[in-house]
């Protein structure tokens, strides 16, 4: 097992910290029903680290990503980036914030305005952030950035989105983000709509960027993809973290029943469902009827907030945290 734990790294390398964040969707006119989308979620993304946020639909993973990008309002406690609370940023400050934090979304075709050429995503950045840069220098900058994502400028510039493939479009979006001095990239399901044969190249690209010191929040519903690139895995269910830690621990030794059920359902090549199920059942034998969180904190008074490391999570082993086993997370066991 490769130990990728970054627990010992100094505070300064924390890139983005999410601390006890909640988000409630109001449904219906003038409030009405509340739908909690994210509940008390805390984690951090460090520089040079890929954190996978894994969850099914309705787990709140996309909402979290949008909160970090300030595309939806932040409720609950705080999200800090480089130690600064971002929840109150307005206009100018927000614009400056976007210099260092950028996002790429799931649907490459919907990320482009269909009636404009694809390079409009670059010119928008130029107009807003690099108005003073002259055209020739800007072209050089764009070319360099395209090369960083392994695209040749002749191939992709001056074309309309529908003339490019999904993989190319996603890479252009990453190149766009690289034009700014970003420290954190939120990648929301960026490969789920790509064809299998091109997915892996985009994933590899993320890994390369990480090697250059970028912090990446990789949001996905696919466990195998999350596992491939990440240094830390966060599993979300209905807006709560159920398990978190180094990928080889979370996937190699899943503790929470929900993580296990996910693992037994994900279709894998070379391993049929029955086999995976049997393997996990064997691993589970010792855990039946137990709840590690409540064994550690019988009164449910586990440490809260980032100061005490992880809220509502118990450290089961080094760099492996787990929430109460009550599968639904609604009530405790």
């Amino acid at each position: 097992m490769a130990t990728t734990s970054l627990a010992g790294k100094p505070e300064a390398e924390r890139c983005c910290t999410v601390d006890r964040v909640s988000m409630v969707y109001k449904i219906g006119a003038f409030g009405g029903t509340d739908l909690p989308a994210v509940r008390d979620v805390s984690f951090e993304v460090r520089a040079g680290e890929v954190v996978s946020l894994i969850g099914e639909s309705g787990s709140g993973k996309t909402t979290l990503g949008k909160m970090i990008l300030r595309l939806c309002p932040i409720t609950g406690e705080t999200i800090t980036v480089d130690g600064v609370d971002i929840s109150t940023f307005k206009r100018r400050r927000l614009k400056t914030y976007y210099r260092s934090v950028q996002g790429v979304f799931q649907d490459p075709f919907s990320s482009y305005n269909p009636i404009f050429k694809a390079d409009r995503v670059f010119s928008m950045i130029k107009d807003e952030y690099f108005a003073e840069v002259n055209a020739a220098e800007w072209r050089r900058k764009v070319a360099a950035s395209l090369e960083a994502v392994r695209l040749s400028p002749d191939e992709v510039l001056n074309k309309y989105p529908h003339q490019l493939s999904g993989g190319q479009l996603q890479r252009i979006l990453i190149a766009r983000a690289l034009l700014l001095d970003i420290r954190l990239l939120v990648a929301d399901e960026i490969i789920s709509m790509l064809d299998a044969s091109t997915r892996i190249d985009v994933l590899n690209l993320l890994a390369d960027l990480k090697a250059q010191g970028l912090g990446i929040l990789f949001i996905t519903h696919d466990l195998s993809l999350g596992n491939y690139v990440s240094d830390k895995t966060v599993i979300l269910r209905r807006g709560r973290i159920v398990e978190m830690g180094a990928p080889d621990r979370v996937f190699g030794n899943p503790l929470h029943p929900y993580t296990k059920s996910l693992l037994t359902s994900v279709p894998q090549l070379h391993r049929k469902w029955e086999r995976v199920e049997a393997e996990l059942a064997a691993g589970r034998a010792g855990l039946t009827g137990r709840c590690i969180y409540h064994e550690r904190y019988p009164n449910g008074d586990g440490p809260v907030g980032l100061d005490a490391e992880r809220p509502t999570l118990a450290e089961a082993e080094d760099d492996h945290f787990v929430a109460c086993f009550q599968a639904d997370g609604e009530e405790t066991c």
Binding site: A29, F30, K66, L69, L71, R91, L94, K95, Y98, Q102, G103, F105, Q106, D107, S110, S111, Y112, N113, P114, I115, F116, V121, M124, I125, D127, E128, Y129, Y160, P161, H162, L173
Partner: protein, 299 residues
């Protein structure tokens, strides 16, 4: 003056790409409804522009013998008072186009403003605007126009267009709001926000261009609506206090018993004018819909 329902399936028109632009032109030129409608509209437009130059008389001048049927001198005959119906008709056409463009335009601007704001801002702003929209929506427009016009001392085409615009925007606002809502959730809008583009430029630079064809079609419907509203007001006797309009011609013809006197040349041309222009616009609109929306093309 039913406004054909346009609420349906409008989002399909959003996916326009430049390749599709050429495709749209291809279908546009081959669409009989579009070309036919456009031809009729242009014909009347030319008549409205050129017509007044063909006649020496003003629309309200008493120029000839009264109650003359159409002749080589008075092409459309004369009224009970000896006014030239042709002169009234061509000047009336001008008023029709003016009120349509001004009224329709103003309605579109208000509707767009409210729709874009509500759809893009969401939240409380949306709730409030939506409430206002719904209130104005159930207010019977003509009744409101009546009550306002009745108190106006001086009425002109411009004033008419203004009050029409002030009270007939709600359905436009609603339709645009729905469109904006669906476009706003598109990732390219989020991406523009992430690029630091200010709200106003996102709405007009990113969202509105995607609705261009739709907005154009809305304007066509509004043009027709404004023309019909104006004609109705004129007919009730709340028409322009100066000048002439097609609705006013109808009003006069009924008031002075053209029906009973069998002076069909007095009331037929203005009706044909309104019906043909508005109808041609509506048919053009169907044609446009077919051009922009492949599902509707004949298979």
């Amino acid at each position: 003056m039913t406004v054909p329902s346009v609420d349906q399936g409008v989002d399909t028109k959003v996916d326009r790409v430049p390749g599709a632009r050429r495709e749209a032109l291809y279908f546009a030129l081959r669409n009989k409804k579009l070309v036919g409608g456009l031809t009729v509209v242009l014909l009347f437009l030319v008549l409205a522009v050129v017509g007044p130059m063909l006649t020496a008389h003003g629309p309200r001048e008493y120029v000839g013998p009264p109650m003359q049927p159409p002749s080589s001198e008075y092409w459309f005959g004369t009224t009970t008072f000896g006014q030239d119906v042709f002169a009234q008709f061509v000047y009336g056409l001008r008023a029709t186009f003016r009120v349509g463009i001004l009224g329709g335009g103003l309605t579109a601007i208000i509707g767009m403003f409210v729709g874009f704001t509500a759809g893009y801002r969401g939240g409380l702003v949306d709730e409030t605007l939506n409430m206002i929209t719904n209130v104005v929506l159930v207010l019977p427009v003509l009744a409101v126009l009546l009550i306002i016009s009745a108190y106006l001392r001086v009425r002109s085409v411009e004033v008419q267009a203004l009050i029409i615009g002030l009270f007939s925007w709600p359905w436009v606002a609603r339709a645009i709001r729905a469109q904006t809502f669906s476009l706003r959730s598109r990732d390219f809008v989020d991406l523009a926000r992430l690029s630091g583009v200010p709200t106003r430029r996102i709405i007009f630079g990113e969202i509105a261009p995607n609705m261009a064809s739709y907005l154009f079609m809305v304007f066509i419907l509004l043009f027709g609506g404004a023309v019909l509203f104006a004609a109705t007001l004129d007919f009730i006797g709340l028409g322009p206090t100066e000048g002439i309009s097609l609705g006013l011609m109808l009003n006069n013809s009924v008031k002075w018993s053209a029906l009973q006197l069998g002076m069909s040349w007095w009331f037929i041309p203005p009706g044909i004018g309104i019906t043909a222009i508005v109808g041609a616009f509506y048919i053009m609109n169907v044609g446009l819909d077919e051009v922009f929306n492949p599902k509707l093309r004949e298979m």
